[in-house]
């Protein structure tokens, strides 16, 4: 507990202003990063959620400390935890490939609400520290994530081919070279007599096979029209 915040722990006009402004700023900081990544919940969403949450704890403290009602101060705030969960649930999408998207956004929105709660309650140390930690995590880990993606042992290949035998050949080729197939997606289209199919493979490379070598080797298989790395 830092003593500089002690004058702001009661409900006064000044402390209300400080709490609300801080929660707007903290929400904005978290929202900024999401916005930059082009995720559905941006700036405004995070600020609104953070402000709303701060208001609930402020109101419940006001009821108890100023109006002296018989009440439980944690009650209003506790519902925020559940209520924002529902809003977050709306951001989650299941794509056609059975992938789940938007989970991080939902979690970030929820975290912004909790930060709003702590700031509204006047627990400035907790709220500010949490914002800093989230910001650090976002900055560091997104760097790390891109780094990992660039140096990954996993590769996504897009391939166009003719005929079913080709697919068998390719799959046999993977097996012979001990390439582990993690995911396949195959789409087929027929334009009159010409039948072309395309497939997206997710492969784990091993030390013997580099990406370039693999691309060339796949090109050499008869029936393969086009191979590209994604």
């Amino acid at each position: 507990m830092l003593s500089i915040f002690d004058p702001l722990r009661d409900i006064t006009v000044l402390s209300v202003a400080v709490r609300m402004l801080l929660s707007a700023v903290c929400g904005g900081i978290i929202g900024m990063e999401r916005e930059y990544k082009r995720r559905p919940a941006g700036f405004r969403t995070h600020i609104l959620i953070c402000l709303g949450a701060a208001m609930t704890t402020l109101t419940s403290q006001y009821l108890y400390l100023v109006l002296h009602y018989y009440t439980d101060m944690a009650r209003l705030g506790a519902q925020v935890v559940a209520g924002v969960g529902f809003i977050g649930a709306g951001t989650i999408i299941v794509t056609r490939r059975q992938r789940v998207k938007g989970l991080t956004t939902a979690a970030g929105l929820w975290a912004a609400a909790i930060i709003g709660l702590t700031l509204g309650a006047g627990f400035y140390e907790g709220g500010i520290l949490a914002t800093i930690l989230i910001l650090l995590a976002e900055l560091l880990f997104s760097k790390l994530e891109y780094h990992m993606l660039e140096h990954a042992q996993e590769i996504n290949l897009y391939m166009e081919y003719n005929g079913k035998q080709t697919l068998d050949c390719v799959l046999r080729f993977y097996r012979e070279h001990e390439l582990k197939l993690l995911d396949v997606e195959i789409t087929r289209s027929s334009d009159g007599e010409k039948i072309t199919s395309c497939a997206i493979f997710t492969l784990r490379l091993n030390r013997k096979c580099t990406a370039n070598w693999l691309l060339n080797a796949l090109h050499a298989i008869p029936g393969v029209v086009l191979v590209q790395e994604l």
């Binding site: 006009v13 202003a17 402004l21 707007a24 900024m32 916005e35 930059y36 990544k37 082009r38 559905p40 919940a41 941006g42 700036f43 405004r44 969403t45 609104l48 959620i49 402000l51 709303g52 949450a53 208001m55 609930t56 402020l58 109101t59 419940s60 006001y62 009821l63 109006l67 009602y69 018989y70 009440t71 439980d72 101060m73 009650r75 209003l76 506790a78 519902q79 925020v80 559940a82 209520g83 924002v84 529902f86 809003i87 709306g90 951001t91 999408i93 794509t95 056609r96 998207k101 891109y146 993606l149 996504n156 897009y158 166009e160 789409t187 289209s189 334009d191 072309t196 395309c198 994604l230």
Partner: protein, 218 residues
Amino acid sequence: MLFGGMLGIERGRKGRAAGFRTYMFVCMGAALTMLLSQYEYLMLNGAWNDIAGEIGIRTDVSRFGAQVINGIGFLGAGTIIVTGKQEVKGLTTAAGLWASACMGLAIGAGFYECVFLAFLLIFLCIRFLPYLETAVVERARNMNIYVEFTSMDDVGRIIGQIKAQNAQIYEVDITRGKESRAQQPSAVFSIRLNHRRAHEQVLTAIAELETITMIDEV
């Protein structure tokens, strides 16, 4: 109610789902629940004092209000739509609705210092921040592109074109159209530009392929 209405005007002006009246109702309803629980509390201390003493019940003023927060969360979730392009819409409306419910609670409690400031901040947030938002979006290196094209055979060429823009592709989601319903195949690409560039330039460069019938950043 007045504040809720003022927030609602802003949203309504933009033709969003939740307009003037929605905000007004939510805000007023929240204020009313708070007043109701205060009324019960007063009655328990006044007219119903004898019964309360007999049965031994003390009501908690914030119990009603607490459920409002949860309830409006549900309501907000209903305004969120996922479009066919894997775009999430209506999230800001949901958040704004929720914030106005919280504001209604504060109004009901008579916490006017907080309400004035909150109204000001929320209003600034939904009125002026979109400008800042577009500025950030323009500088972002991540893009989500939605493309519609005439034939499945051209996916390879589209991918090649995107990679020619010096961008990495992180995710592809291809949907085959149904020819009977005159639907065209479409794909959503998540890409990251290696250098900062204007998004319009990238989009027009990709759109040069004659197979692409529609391109959109989502």
